[in-house]
């Protein structure tokens, strides 16, 4: 297809988008949802399995209380009502990564309903309605071998790893989100970011999109102003925060071009491609899927004790949005500065760096400056850049103590990222400490003055700015390890000039 996509500005001028998000979060419980198998990521294929999570004949599920508790806490953090009585249901469909050929999920009786999550976009608060939060089990992972696409069609062999099968999975579904206009992609991203932070603050999941412990499906539709909402598509395979934003935008552009051409949108599942930023149709289903939901007869209904729920509610941690407001005040940041900290995903990192002894300003400078740059270059999350908040605080301490200048500090940082040890160790091992021995420096200064008599004369005659060349020469002979400010002062002093 060689359709030229319309410009984004024109699209949002003509159409109103409605978005919706379905997010799956793998809980970080020690054991799986229905059995005692461990849940850690990784592990040789099919080693974390038992008769229950393999769905062997005769095996039965028993619900994991920790997973139920985590789901209720997520629901409470999202301002949901917690059901006094609810049930699990079977979702029936055949797929080899699902050992029983049905998934134990929840259908018309979810554990948590009707909540909201406030997110900040461009300084505005947008309230996202939460339709439901329910608990289900994850499937195994299928690896299709031999096909061109890595998908089941065309594959010569399919291998299944059931380690993931039965890991507790929480599904969080928003209500439709209309009225966000041109900001729809950013709202989608802000929501997933906020949701991730909320769940992380609860300590119930590591919510890592790249490892699949947080997965997101994005629903998008367009309608003309004043008309009914359009047909929506569901975009899957959205594996990063950036992709959430790109997927909405890309789908808005695609749908607009279809509608502009007089076409209509097909309700379908689409697949997001990280490389091109496009979506393509998922596998078309010849017939509508009928999951034949019915209450799971192997499990008794859930009736969370109201006193227990109240206890869980009272024990919720400070949620990210409130925490951010508090921190912003403590750090004395403007709204805009705080927003950039949040956007960079640096709140916790800066907080930890401050806790390790750095000033908020210095911590912010490192994380938003040098470290963000490196994260972008290498395409990793800021937290995974390879430097801990403790290291950053230590590094700043060396700078503050005059042992490192900015340039040397950056070199030391390289060493930390390269796994050479702590900043102090690297400084010592590599001999990077600022030369502060005035005797040695004076010798270098005298050498530079002697080697550049013309420049020295200029300085003596009052052209103080010319001293820069002498500073450069000293820095060169000391291999950058001198403190430039001290060098400059020494030069002016030797030449009898006031700085």
């Amino acid at each position: 297809m060689t359709t030229t996509l319309p410009a984004y500005d024109e699209v949002v001028a003509r159409y109103e988008p409605v978005i919706g998000l379905e997010t799956h979060v793998e809980l970080g419980t020690n054991t799986k949802m229905w059995c005692g198998c461990p849940t850690d990521f990784g592990g040789e294929p099919n080693t974390r399995v038992c008769p229950v999570c393999l769905g062997l004949p005769g095996s039965l599920p028993v619900a994991n209380k920790a997973a139920i508790e985590a789901t209720i806490r997520i629901g409470l953090a999202l301002n949901c009502s917690i059901a006094e009585w609810c049930r699990f249901a079977r979702k029936n469909y055949f797929y080899p990564d699902m050992p029983k050929n049905f998934q134990i999920s929840q259908y018309d009786e979810p554990l948590c309903v009707d909540g909201h999550l406030d997110v900040e976009v461009n300084g505005e608060t947008v309230r996202i309605g939460i339709e439901r939060v329910h608990l289900e089990e994850d499937t195994g992972k299928t690896l299709h071998v031999g096909g061109a696409t890595g998908r089941i069609h065309g594959a010569t062999e399919s291998l299944v790893d059931y380690n993931r099968a039965g890991i507790p999975l929480v599904e969080i579904v928003t209500k439709p989100i209309p009225g966000t206009g041109a900001l729809a992609p950013e709202v989608a991203r802000a929501y997933v970011t906020e949701l991730r932070d909320v769940i992380r603050s609860l300590g119930v999941s590591d919510v890592r999109m790249e490892e699949g412990s947080l997965r997101c499906d994005v629903n998008t539709s367009l309608n003309l102003p004043g008309e009914e909402w359009g047909t929506r598509t569901e975009t899957k395979n959205v594996n990063s925060l950036r992709s959430v934003e790109r997927a909405v935008r890309s789908e808005m552009l695609r749908q607009a071009s279809v509608l502009d051409a007089g076409g209509s949108i097909t309700q379908e599942t689409r697949h997001f491609h990280e490389d091109t930023g496009d979506t393509t149709p998922g596998r078309s289903k010849e017939t509508a899927t009928d999951y034949r939901y019915f209450p799971e007869p192997d499990l008794v209904p859930l009736a969370p004790d109201t006193a227990w729920v109240a206890e869980l509610k009272a024990a919720l941690p400070e949620l990210p949005r409130l925490r951010r407001k508090r921190i912003q005040q403590e750090w004395g940041l403007s709204d805009l500065d705080m927003q950039s900290v949040v956007n960079a995903g640096a709140v916790e990192l800066i907080e930890a760096t401050v806790a390790a002894g750095a000033t908020p300003a210095a911590a912010r400078k490192w994380w938003l400056g040098e470290l963000s740059r490196r994260a972008n270059e290498t395409g990793v999350e800021l937290a995974d850049v390879g430097v801990s908040p403790r290291h950053v605080a230590e590094l700043q301490g060396l700078v503050d103590g005059g042992k490192l200048n900015d340039k040397l500090a950056r070199i030391v940082l390289e060493g930390v990222i390269g796994g050479e040890g702590s900043p102090a160790e690297i400084m010592t091992n590599r001999g990077l400490e600022v030369v502060s021995d005035t005797g040695a420096l004076t010798a270098a200064v005298d050498e530079a003055i002697a080697a550049n008599p013309d420049v020295a004369d200029k300085v003596r005659s009052g052209k103080v700015a010319a001293a820069g060349a002498l500073v450069g020469a000293v820095m060169k002979t000391t291999r950058g390890q001198a403190d430039a400010k001290t060098v400059r002062e020494l030069i002016l002093e030797r030449l009898g000039v006031q700085g």
Binding site: G55, L56, P57, G58, L60, N101, S158, F294, D298
Partner: protein, 491 residues
């Protein structure tokens, strides 16, 4: 010398405990009996000779070491092939699991082993426990020891026939709509369906999860109670298992055996004692009711108006659950796989496997259930059936406000000839007409032999409130004390 196969379980346990015989001798006697008659009866799908003798030796060693053995130590047990047995084939009477050796023991089997009973092997059954004659076994029918041309009931025909043929003194069955009680009735043996949740379903290959109940089978009431006590009780691996102790069924059976039912009120279910049952069955039932009255029981008529809808409700609920439970049999992870020649798609292989692996009755129920759960039909079928289930439960609760237990014949007819009802599924389904309401309610019920009709056994059913399993044992033992037990003609 005593024929060890003719003894009761209690007697065998006593002889083993005192050292008058050994578990190995008892086991060998039963293995010999199986070798002699099972070619005719076909009660067993798999005889675990080595495993049984090893278990028996272990019991003898423990006794010799002075260990305190349980009340059934050294007693052989036959286990319906619906329960998983570690390393021992478990087929559920289906081709789709042919050759499957489970990597784990069901809770029931685990408890049987812990109690020192000796598992002889796995008994024949209708495929996936769907049937009332054992004719739907993929491995050929079991024959009734009373008349080898007749069915032994089903689905647990193997477990019942093994008792009647003296191949085992005890066996385990599972009852979803009558699969313990109806075979018990037509083979002249005792079969008890415990309260749902009173016995663990962990390791019971599911047919209909909300109905399946494993339970004891024996040749007399006390033996059934002893077995019930051993296998019953809470199991944390089954979420629907009731966290309460097993009612004292052994004490109740002993109390009943004294023959005094003074103060016990029994309700004859009027819906099950009119037309619909054979005259010979009704005659034996009526005589037994009179016998119970003579023992002091007060007999009243009780109407349970919704029982007439139990059969249709059951044939929506059970197939619905089975359509989902049996989805896992797809050839991917275990059991049969057909058509995997490298050229066929996964869907084709799954489809060919299920086509070849399931028999016609299983397919029929999967189709009915799939339909009943479909979008647009759910409310009219599955949803409606669940409402009927609630009404039936209310009939039971209302009845138990008036009486201690309900009574009826177990099944409307005595053992029918092999082949007589396979052509018409509905005629087959009628065999469970009187047993199904209990499963929908979840309470316990027992079938105890009460007489003969044209030389074939008739079963008497006692239904009790949930977790009042002891009550039915008391009445059953009282009835047994007056009508006696029934011995089939020699094979």
């Amino acid at each position: 010398m005593t024929d060890l196969t003719r003894l009761t379980a209690a007697e065998i346990a006593g002889l083993v405990a005192t050292g008058e015989t050994s578990a190995v001798e008892v086991t060998q006697a039963h293995l010999d009996r199986i070798a002699a008659v099972d070619e005719q009866v076909h009660a067993f799908l798999h005889v675990d000779t080595e495993g049984a003798l090893a278990a028996a030796r272990s019991v003898d060693e423990r006794r010799a070491a002075g260990e305190d053995l349980g009340p059934l130590a050294g007693v052989p047990v036959a286990v319906k092939d619906v329960l998983t047995t570690k390393g021992v084939p478990t087929t559920v009477g289906s081709k789709i699991l042919e050759g499957w050796r489970p990597p784990y023991d069901s809770t029931i089997v685990e408890r049987l082993r812990a109690a020192g009973t000796v598992m002889l092997g796995k008994t024949n059954m209708d495929e996936f426990a769907m049937g009332s004659s054992t004719e739907y076994s993929a491995y050929g029918p079991t024959r009734n020891p009373w008349d080898l041309e007749r069915i032994p009931g089903g689905s647990g025909g193997g477990s019942a026939a093994a008792l009647a043929a003296y191949e085992a003194p005890l066996s385990i069955g599972s009852d979803t709509g009558g699969s313990i009680r109806q075979p018990g009735a037509v083979t002249g043996t005792v079969g008890a369906k415990p309260t749902y949740g009173g016995t663990s379903r962990y390791g019971l290959v599911a047919f209909s999860s909300s109905l399946d109940t494993p339970g004891p089978c024996a040749r007399n009431v006390l033996d059934a109670a002893l077995l019930h006590q051993v296998i019953g009780g809470h199991d944390p691996r089954d979420s629907t298992s009731i966290p309460a102790p097993v009612p004292d069924v052994v004490a109740a059976a002993k109390l009943g055996a004294s023959g005094d039912l003074t103060g016990v009120r029994l309700g004859v279910v009027t819906e099950f004692t009119g037309e619909g049952a054979e005259p010979g069955v009704m005659a034996a039932f009526r005589e037994s009711v009179e016998a119970l009255a003579k023992l002091g029981a007060e007999i009243v008529d009780v109407s349970c108006p919704h029982f007439q809808y139990a059969l249709p409700a059951y044939y929506l609920i059970a197939p619905s659950e089975c359509s989902s439970n049996l989805a896992r049999f797809d050839g991917v992870r275990f059991g049969l796989r057909v058509g995997d020649d490298g050229n066929r798609s996964l869907e084709e292989v799954m489809s060919l496997t299920r086509e070849a692996g399931f028999g016609p009755e299983v397919k029929r129920r999967i189709m009915i259930g799939t339909y009943a759960l479909s979008s647009g039909y759910y409310d009219a079928y599955y949803g409606q059936a669940q409402k009927v289930r609630t009404l039936i439960t209310r009939d039971f609760t209302a009845a138990f406000e008036r009486v201690d237990a309900l009574i009826s014949p177990t099944t409307p007819f005595v053992a029918f000839p092999i082949g007589a009802r396979t052509a018409d599924p509905y005629q087959m389904y009628l065999a469970d007409l009187f047993t199904i309401p209990t499963n929908l309610y979840g309470g316990p019920a027992i079938s105890v032999p009460c007489g003969l009709s044209e030389g074939l056994p008739v079963g008497f059913q006692i239904m009790a409130p949930t977790m009042a399993d002891d009550r039915m044992y008391r009445v059953a033992a009282a009835l047994e004390s007056t009508v006696g037990t029934f011995t089939p003609p020699a094979l």
